[in-house]
């Protein structure tokens, strides 16, 4: 009898939801591994890049991505398929990175006075209007000069387009604290941008 050997290409056409369902129900460990590899190949680069954009250190980003991807496979049965897999995975990635940053910098404590910083969400970007001149190339350069916590909150807000309420939930802090941290991070970005522009002139 001739057995046809499975390859990853067999599972590549499956969408995320069906692929996850197939991984969870497959009894043959070899086939299950091939499916896991397909899922890994789909998301490993994105997870690694997300970690790298937060920590800016190759080795740390690799360690974080490792833990997140292992967690992804171990928690697959918790994926209900009601929301996109990407969102589900990135919630795991965020929580992991946030915990890491919190541990590094002890951010969980309210590290500055947020009293009175209770303004409407639409109004929080009113300041730092000079940042309108900031372009991608310079942005990437300046982000590298911010701290991990400053980068994290800006990425959550602008790259992943999270509302203040969602960031507050993810970071387990109050909305006023989020607004304050956003302001401080943006102020610092604006300051670096100004210094950089002045230096170039």
């Amino acid at each position: 009898m001739v057995f046809l050997q499975s390859t990853t290409t067999e599972f590549e056409p499956l969408d995320d939801q069906n692929l996850v369902a197939a991984i969870l129900t497959e009894d043959n460990r070899e086939r299950q591994r091939l499916m896991q590899e397909v899922l890994y190949d789909r998301y490993a680069d994105k997870v690694f890049y997300k970690c790298l954009s937060i920590v800016k250190d190759h080795e740390t980003a690799k360690d974080l991505a490792h833990d997140i991807l292992v967690k992804m496979f171990l928690k697959l049965k918790d994926f209900k398929g009601t929301s996109p897999f990407y969102g589900w995975l990135f919630a795991i990635a965020y929580n992991h990175c946030i915990n890491f940053v919190n541990k590094q910098q002890r951010l969980r404590t309210e590290d500055f006075d947020t009293h009175g910083y209770d303004i409407a969400e639409d109004e929080i970007e009113k300041e730092n209007l000079e940042l309108k001149e900031l372009r991608l190339e310079k942005l990437e350069e300046l982000l590298g000069e911010l701290t991990e916590s400053e980068r994290l909150i800006l990425l959550l807000r602008y790259q992943d387009d999270l509302a203040v309420k969602d960031i507050a939930e993810a970071l387990d802090i109050g909305e006023s604290a989020v607004k304050m941290r956003l302001k401080r991070s943006r102020d610092r970005l604006a300051e670096l941008f100004k210094m950089n522009s002045a230096h170039e002139k």
């Binding site: 954009s53 490792h66 790259q159």
Partner: protein
Amino acid sequence: MKNDDSIPNEQGKELRNHLKDEFQKMQPKEAAPAVLKKQVFDTLDTIRLMADMADLFTVKFTKTESQMMDLLGDEQSDNPTEQPDDEDATDKK
């Protein structure tokens, strides 16, 4: 905290949209290191092995032991005459 109300909300929104656009233009420039894949799957294999071992020594071992006890119990109840014979022998003595 001072809040500059002289700047209209529109400008704030514009700035947010601009920053959003620039941040979202950032694309992965580097792929995940090749060694990461091996590390992830090695870790998964180790976790699976440990789970199998734990399963072997807790669930499966206990199950086998209780099955053996059941079998022994069954054997004894299949030969109920053995003990009375011994009792008879003692009585005769």
